[in-house]
Each structure stands twice: as structure tokens, then as C-alpha cells.
Symmetry: D3
Subunit: 228 residues, 6 copies
Amino acid sequence: MNILRRYTMHAEGSVLVEFGHTKVLCTASVEERVPSFLKGTGKGWVTAEYGMLPRATNTRGAREAAAGKQSGRTQEIQRLIGRSLRAVTDLALLGERQITIDCDVLQADGGTRCASITGAMVALADAIAFLRAKGNLAHDPLRDFVAAVSVGMVGGHPLLDLDYSEDSACGTDMNVVMTGSGDFVEVQGTAEGEPFTREEMTRLLDLATHGISQLVAAQRSALAGGTA
Amino acid sequence: MNILRRYTMHAEGSVLVEFGHTKVLCTASVEERVPSFLKGTGKGWVTAEYGMLPRATNTRGAREAAAGKQSGRTQEIQRLIGRSLRAVTDLALLGERQITIDCDVLQADGGTRCASITGAMVALADAIAFLRAKGNLAHDPLRDFVAAVSVGMVGGHPLLDLDYSEDSACGTDMNVVMTGSGDFVEVQGTAEGEPFTREEMTRLLDLATHGISQLVAAQRSALAGGTA
Amino acid sequence: MNILRRYTMHAEGSVLVEFGHTKVLCTASVEERVPSFLKGTGKGWVTAEYGMLPRATNTRGAREAAAGKQSGRTQEIQRLIGRSLRAVTDLALLGERQITIDCDVLQADGGTRCASITGAMVALADAIAFLRAKGNLAHDPLRDFVAAVSVGMVGGHPLLDLDYSEDSACGTDMNVVMTGSGDFVEVQGTAEGEPFTREEMTRLLDLATHGISQLVAAQRSALAGGTA
Amino acid sequence: MNILRRYTMHAEGSVLVEFGHTKVLCTASVEERVPSFLKGTGKGWVTAEYGMLPRATNTRGAREAAAGKQSGRTQEIQRLIGRSLRAVTDLALLGERQITIDCDVLQADGGTRCASITGAMVALADAIAFLRAKGNLAHDPLRDFVAAVSVGMVGGHPLLDLDYSEDSACGTDMNVVMTGSGDFVEVQGTAEGEPFTREEMTRLLDLATHGISQLVAAQRSALAGGTA
Amino acid sequence: MNILRRYTMHAEGSVLVEFGHTKVLCTASVEERVPSFLKGTGKGWVTAEYGMLPRATNTRGAREAAAGKQSGRTQEIQRLIGRSLRAVTDLALLGERQITIDCDVLQADGGTRCASITGAMVALADAIAFLRAKGNLAHDPLRDFVAAVSVGMVGGHPLLDLDYSEDSACGTDMNVVMTGSGDFVEVQGTAEGEPFTREEMTRLLDLATHGISQLVAAQRSALAGGTA
Amino acid sequence: MNILRRYTMHAEGSVLVEFGHTKVLCTASVEERVPSFLKGTGKGWVTAEYGMLPRATNTRGAREAAAGKQSGRTQEIQRLIGRSLRAVTDLALLGERQITIDCDVLQADGGTRCASITGAMVALADAIAFLRAKGNLAHDPLRDFVAAVSVGMVGGHPLLDLDYSEDSACGTDMNVVMTGSGDFVEVQGTAEGEPFTREEMTRLLDLATHGISQLVAAQRSALAGGTA
């Protein structure tokens, strides 16, 4: 697992996150405007967009810009990333500005949504540090860290998917988004194969909690590596 | 809670489900063809589409057909309905045919996705009974029932949202899709407000399990009311 | 023929109209804004949108929202409904507000455009009664009733298609929209088969006039059944 | 009124029709294929598309190709043109081929749909003559002529709109499509202003019948002017 | 080569340009507004749109409005026309207004983009003369003429493609846009076949320069033929 | 200038090209199918798609997939890349397969189209080496190298834009695509400001020829660095 900050030069936060062979570029862009439903409220907004380069995967996928629309999967993922980041951001402290996190998958080998959330958190922190360094934010709007892991049942055993190598054999796939304090932001468990029991659920949540604590440690360490 | 079968005349299954003020019309359509990725495999497919009439809600929403695309929310919901139904269907026993469940919200007062899944299950059962009555299916491809509830934390207390009246005050919203046997098909918990603790998670899952058993009883009772 | 008012709870007017097996839900939504070409003129607007649930018909049709556009037929019908309603509405008396009538076909067995117009008139009347009850309209902007029938030549004989059962055998199909006073708002006659003679035209118009008077009587009776 | 054949060189039929200041270019294209619903039936198809150059009118209109869709009006007109031509064509005699008539308005001054139908008929006749000259058609599939006029009430008087100069003052606008034998193919009367009485309807139909006979004479005369 | 002014009546400039069998209608429309990036700058804008009637060519092409989007080729051509015209227009002298040139190909036989630019220049000049005649422009914003030719290598010999008859045999195709003074505005040379040498480039540019001078002479002559 | 091969793992060719601050990822994907117009001809196809990450630039641009279409600029660039590569590829020797080059700009600081072509050439060479190593290609279909430079007039002086730092001050911008042998594949010169003289043209072409030879040397050197 590797979190590389300042990967590109223009964005206020720019993070390349590598989990196994998966590589996602997360950039944070600050804009001094908010969506219309927030105008005049004094509150800010954090949102995300997600994309995958056509040959990030083993077989070339159609370019969504050429196809003329984003797939349902893309929209689902980008809404999840946005909600996760907002869960740890005090939007009133952010003030009337928007931070957009773009998560673009350069190379995919499973787990791109979890890698995106984990990297996006660091890009967001860098963008906020940028605003604070400029004197534009009196208080830090970040209340906590947030990271995401994928856990699943493989051959009857719960597995923490930190290296994303077992995805295809998964009976159940559960994405868990948690804060640095160990509380839940999102839980999305799906069983297209065999439904899973309550006891399996308990073991999967234990494993996710453990994995998140490792990821948050990696985020803290990356951010300790220098100012943005 | 009310499940009314044979609501419209053309569809192989047609169910009006009413939960509180929410009314969803679920129709099941059988087609003797499958998506291209299943051609020649001998397997069938169950899929769903979801829509909301423009004035189903308190404020008129734009018609998606006029807007020219389905929102991300619509796509997310219809994919969830489809996955839930497939989780209890043996697609090989279904044979190379597709059943499409259309869930159209006539009136909305919260909980439309849970009502849709619960009603869609009954429409699917009726469509399969129709196929069996015609002698087209040697074995019943339905392995179990499936239903969905919404549970949440309201004012610090877990709440089973069977009557959908408390939605807006919710700190956490969790949709749980379970089988008649009490196993999990989907768990989708979101905390846009305060993240929720592990102990709250446990209480919410208990409550959901309890609610699902009531809904499955209602499905059984509706289906016992006569042949399709 | 059945006209059922207050079918759903949110809309200012909500009418389920049943003609034979055809069922159309017509809702009227009041908005305190007008299209840009009317801003500042003091005049209001009445418009309509039309849709058909995918399995309203015998064979499932593609969902227009999924297809990404409304068909030419849909647009033609919704423009016809809007023009018909405006023909009996004094837009200056309505004031700068818009009433949108959504006509959604729950079940189709022919004649959906005529049923839509006839039901939309009642939903519009209820929405206007709602505005008047709130004291927002000094004068009633409705100048007359409006209804629509389909007439046609079947096997050389003119037929009034009140029960919509003979549609497919029709040589000529003529939709006639008339006011309660017996004047014409729209006449749309089409002969894809044999062109029709002037004498046939005369007999079809006689029949339409007769049918409209029955429909307007049904509208009056439904509206006499209670305040909205 | 002027009908000019062989206006462009590539199309099998190419007619510039001028009515007053309105100029429409109607081209007929023969293709040896039919829409999928006709494959293997031995029947052919006649269809039409309609467009208006952006500056055909007094104020520049948005280019529909740039806007990304055809307006409801455009679709309504092109469907009307297609139906009118099919009403006088024996599709079985045409054989499995399609003739597409493109009606493009170079300059508009009212009455473009009537001019389009009247010109399209001549382009269609030329395309059929082309097929017959090549020996591809044993029998002439054209059963009759077809033309269209607009009639209306202006200041209480019925008016035949052959020179298209009075359009804007019209209380009622009625488009009438008739055959050379004097039968009706389409009648589309609309009263956005005052509804019109039965007696006015009778006078408008009389006037339309008279106008059509003049247009069909002009079509015959143009076609007599030489082989295609 | 033929340049016919005042071809249609509504546009401020309207030119039919015929080069060989190619016929393009170029209309200039003046609007008293500018794109948002120019608001408040005092500068105007000149832009172009391009289209081809479906049967302008030997084989009927799909109507772009029906297809729902403009092809890449269409967009490339219309951007080229706009840039070429702006190169000889002083946008500050034009003032905050926009002139849109629509180039619609009625009949195509090669060289439509060059014919479009050459005709558009004359339509623009007429629109500016119209503005000056009305007293809306103190100074002439046109600094020079602009025209376009296509040159290419055919069988090893450079060829000036004034009559557009040799297009298909071309090894290299070069479009050259030049001013009346003989300077370059655009050079677009493409070799899908054999790459071309520097010496061939020199000969092609010589030939283009010669051709442009003939076209500019024709433009001058057409404009000398009378006021718009 | 830096050309880094094997940047991502899935594609048959994967090159990160860095010119100044501009970074473009070029991946080559081999597919054993061709566009329909080539089926059965024995010939292959080389095509390209181009995209820019939203925050590749100083100000965040809208994501084209979210906007629902590719801009005219994007389409123009990707067609240019494809033509340039095909100019040096013997499509008959390639056989009936397609190679798609995706050029995605990770960071932009001018000159992205030239960097894309120069990097795409190397990715294409690697994909062809991959096919040859697998024994799928008897003969090398690459006939030559191809690279692209941007040259322009800055303050009256011709400038070779190898480091892309002077873009904005450019009076003329000329993109030149040449082969390793020094012949021209594409010349695209545009003067939105002052038109440029024939003598300036000569000096710009000299400079471009010089720059291309440096780029081709860099391509050769990168490819000499090891097998793909």
C-alpha cells in the first residue's frame, strides 16, 4: 500500500494511491462557488467524480465520454465517495466553497472504490491545508479521517481484501467506510451468490474494523510526510 | 401494509404494494429472450426498472423521459431491486428467458425502494406461477422469499420504519434486504449525519431482522390468497 | 366509463379515468412560475406531459426514460392535451402561474389520448378549485368543459369508440376534441388505409358530437360529487 | 405557386416547391432495404424527414443537429408527410424497398408542411418513374395524387391559404390532406383561439376541397413537363 | 464558379456559391448579443455552423438532427469556417454583436469546406454592409478578404482543385485559407496515403496562392454587383 | 523530454510521455476485430481516443463523460492522432485486427496533441512488437517513425515549442506531423491573430523539421531500451 502526495502540479491536492496493482489518481479542486441549493447558506460542499481510463483494466472498456454517458456503476461510486468525505467534513466551517475530488483509475486490479475513498481523503486534507495556509479558513473543517475497505467471504472464510487479489472468487462483497474513530459511515454488503448469515456479518465487520485502522495509519503517515 | 395482486391486466404478475402512504405498482413481464451475455448458456435473467411518476411526491419532479436520462438514484435503485430478486432465483432452473420487474411509484411518502423490492418479489412469484401453469417450467426456480426494510437511528433510538413516517429525522438510514430464512442479501447503511457505532449497528440489524419476518409473512399471506 | 377524483394525495388535482380497460392517472400540479416567454405578461400557462408505464400494454414497451428520449408519438399526444386544455382556459384570469397535467397510462386498451384529455379536464378543474378555495383566484378561468372522443369507420360503418374495443379493425381513426358547448377544439382524422369520403366525414362528426355530450355529462357528474 | 423538378442532381427525385415566399426542397432517395418490421413481407415503405435551415425564418432558429434532437413539431410534421404519401402508395407493388423523402425548408413564410406534402408527392412520382425506367417495377404503385392545403377562419371568414400570407391572423388553422379523387387522407384542425362551430367546419372543408383540386392540377402539369 | 447574392430573403446576407456541381447556401444572421465570455468587453463575435442536406451526396446520409449529434467532421469544418472569418474581422470594431454564418450544402461534389468559406466571406460582407447602411457601424470591421482552396498531389502532379473533379484520386489533400493580401490564415495538409516531401509542399503552396487570387477576384466582382 | 515505457501493466503498449510539465499516458490495445467497413478486406485499423483528466489543467474542466459528449476539440485531436499513426502503418500487413491508442492527459502545460502523437507512436511500436513476439505478425507493418511538433511565431520570431512554455504568446500556432524520413504527414497552421506570410511559413517549416528529428531520436532511444 502506497500513498504518494503531490503527484500532479495544478490541483490543490493530488494523490496517487496504489493498493496492490490498483493505481488511482485523486485530485482535489477548490472552487469559490457552491451548488445552487447551498447559495446563501454559508455552507460549503464536498463532491466527487470517478472515472476509469479505457485500458485501466485487462480488456479495454468503452470510454464513457465517447459513449455519451456515465454508467450506473460510475455514478454509484462517485456518490459514495462524496458522501464518505462529507461525513467527516464540517460543511459550515468549510464556508461557501466547493471541493471536488476527481478519482481517476489509471490501473485497476480490484478495489478501486475503496482505494479512491482512501486516497481522496488525503487529497481533501491537502486542499484544506492549502486553504488554511492561504489564511482562508479560520478552523479546520475536517473532524476525523475516513477510509474504506472491502471484505468478503472466500471459500467460507472471511477475508480482508487489502491486496485486492481475491475479488473474483468472492461469495459476498462488502465495502465498509469507517472513520478514524472506528464508527461506520457506510456499509454496503451484497451477496449475488449465497446470502450470508448474521454470524458471517459479525466476522466481516470485525475484519473491516481491523483493516480500516491500518489504512488510517497509512493516511496519517503520508500526511506527516510534509506540508502540501 | 397492503399487497394487492392482479392490479393491472396485461402483465404476468401485477402487484400494488402500499406501505403507509407509499404506493408502488410492480409488474412482471416474461420475455423469451435473454441479454446477449447469457445467450446459449441455458440460464435466465431477472432484472428491474424503477420510475416515479412526476407528481408522486409533494413537489412535482421532472419527468426522466423528458430530461432524457435516468438519474443516478434511479439507476442505483433499479440495480438493487434486480440483485435482490436474483439472489433468491435459480437462474438455471428459470431457463433462457428474462423476467423484467417494473416498479413505478404512484405515490411516495418514503421507503419506495423497500416497498418496491417487497412488492416485486410477489410479482415475480406470480410470473413464475404463470409459467408453471403453462407447463413451461419443470421446477420452481424460486429458492426463498426476499423482502426489504429500512431501519434508522432517530433521536438516538433505533427505529423500524415500517410505516415510513419518520424518514426525515433520521440520523442513519439503513436498507436491509433479507431472505425468508433470515440471511442477508444486501445491507446498505449510510450516515450523512453522525457516523454510527458498532453497537448501534447491532441494534439496527436486530430490528431489521424482526421487520423482514413481518413482511415475508405478508407476502406469504398475499400469495396464499389465490392463483395468479 | 368511470372518473375517480382524489386518487393520489399530493397533487392539487388527481383523477383516475377508466374507459373500458384503459386506466389513466391525471394529476394537476400548480407552480407559481411561468415559462420565460410569459414572464411579466400577467398570463398563466397550462401544459401537459404524457407517459405510459412499460407494461401498460400487452407487450412490454421500452421505458422512455431508459431510452433517453420521448417518442414522437408521446410528444404529439402531450402537445394535443395541452392545447385542448388551453382552449377552454382564460390564461389572463389564471394569472402568472403554471398548471402541469401529467397523464400516465397505468393500463392501455386503446383510446389513451382521449381518456387523457377527458380526465385531465377534471384534474385541471380540481386544481383551479384548490386555488380558488385558497383565495388565489378572484375569477374562474375555466370558460367551458372539454373532452375528446375517437370515432372511426369499421367495416364501412361509423363507430363511436366509447369502449375502445374496436380500434384495430379501424379503417379511419378520428380524434375529436370538443367543448361542452359543442364547438370544435381539435379534429384529427387519419386514413392510413382507404381515404374517407366527405359523406363519411359528416357522419363521423355527428357521432363525435353525440359522444362528447355524454363525456361532458360524466365530467359534470364527477365534479358535482364533492369539493376537491 | 411553382413546382420545379430536377433541382439537385443526386436524388432519384428532386423538387423545389415555391408557395408564396416559402421554398422547400423535396428529394426522394431509393434504398433497396426496408425497416426491420417489413423484412420478408414483400412490402416496401415510404417515409419522410423534415428540416428547416436555421435562417429559413425571419429570426435565426437553433440548428436541430446542434441542439441534439428534433423538436416535437419536426417529428409531427415528418410523420404527417410520411402517412400522406403512404395513403396513395400500394406498398406491396413497391416491393421490398424504401423511398425516403427529405423535405428541407430553404425559406419559410408559412405553410411549410402543406408545401412539403405537395412537393414530396412529385418527388416520389419521379423516384417511382426512375425505378420503372430501370425496369425495377412491373406496375405503378401510385394509386392517386395527394396534396395538402391550409384553410382557416380570418376575421370570421373562411380563407384558403394558397399564398400563405394571412397565417398569423388565423383564429383556426386546419391542414387538409386529400387525394386527387377528392377523398380525405388527413384532417388536422386546431383552434388555439376561439373554438369553431360545425357550420364553420363545413365551409372550411368546402374551401379545402377546392384548393386541393388546384394543387393536384399543378402537380399533374409539372409531371407532364418531361420524364424524370 | 458562381457567387449568387440575396438567394433567400430573411438573412442579412444570403449567398449561394456554386463550385463545379457543389452548391452551398451561406446565410449571415446578425444578433445583438455575444457569447458570455465576451459580455461587457465591447467586442463582437463571428461564428459559423455547417450542415449537409441528407441527399446532397450520391448516397443518402443520416440526418444529423435525427442522429442526435453533429459528427466530428461537421464540428471540425464549422470551427474552421469561424476561425477563417474572424481572421479578417476586427471584432472590436464590430461591437458587441454576433454574426452567425450558416453554411448548408444543398448539393455536394467535393470541396464543400472551401466553397463554404469563400461564400461565407461574401455573406459576412453583406451583413456588415446591412449594419453600416442602418448606421449601426461607424467603421468597417472587415480588414481583408478571405477565401479557401483545396490543392493536392494527383499522380505525382500538384493540382489546383478549382472545379473539384479530382478529389478521389488525391494522394495528398491540402486546404489553404488565405487573405486577399496573400497571407496565410490556415493551412491544413493531410497525407493519408504517401507522406509528401518538402518540395511538393512548396509547389502546393504556390498553386494555392494562385487559386486564392482568382477566388478573391470573384468575391470582389460579386460584391461590386450591387448593395445588399 | 522523457519517454517512459511499460507505465501500466494491462495494455499491450503503455507509454508515459513527459514534455516539459505535460504528461500524457498513451496505451495501445490490440483487438482481434476491425470496424465493419474493413470486414473481410484482410486489412487492419489503427485508431485513437483522447481525453484530459478534469484537473490536468490549472482550472478544473468539466468531465466529458459527465457532460455527455466529447467536445469538438477532443474529436479533432483524436482523429489527428489516428491519421498520423495510420500514415506510417501498412494496414494490410497488420491483418484484420485493430489497435486503439488511448491518449489521456494527466497533466497539461501546452502541446498535448504533439506529445500524444509522439508517445502514441512508441505505444503502437510496443503493441506491434507484442504481436510479433507472439508470432501473430509475419512482417513488421510499421514503415517509419512519426512524431509531432508545435512551432509558432512569438514576437515576430519563429519558435520551436519543445518545452511548451511560450504557447500563450503565440501569434501563429502550427502543428507539424512528420515521418522519421522527414516527409510531411500533417501540417495544421492557424493564425487567429495576424495572418502569416509565405516567408514566415518557410522558416516555421524549417524549424519543425529540425524539431522532429530530435523527437524521432528520442523515440528510437526509448525503444532501444528493451523489449516490450
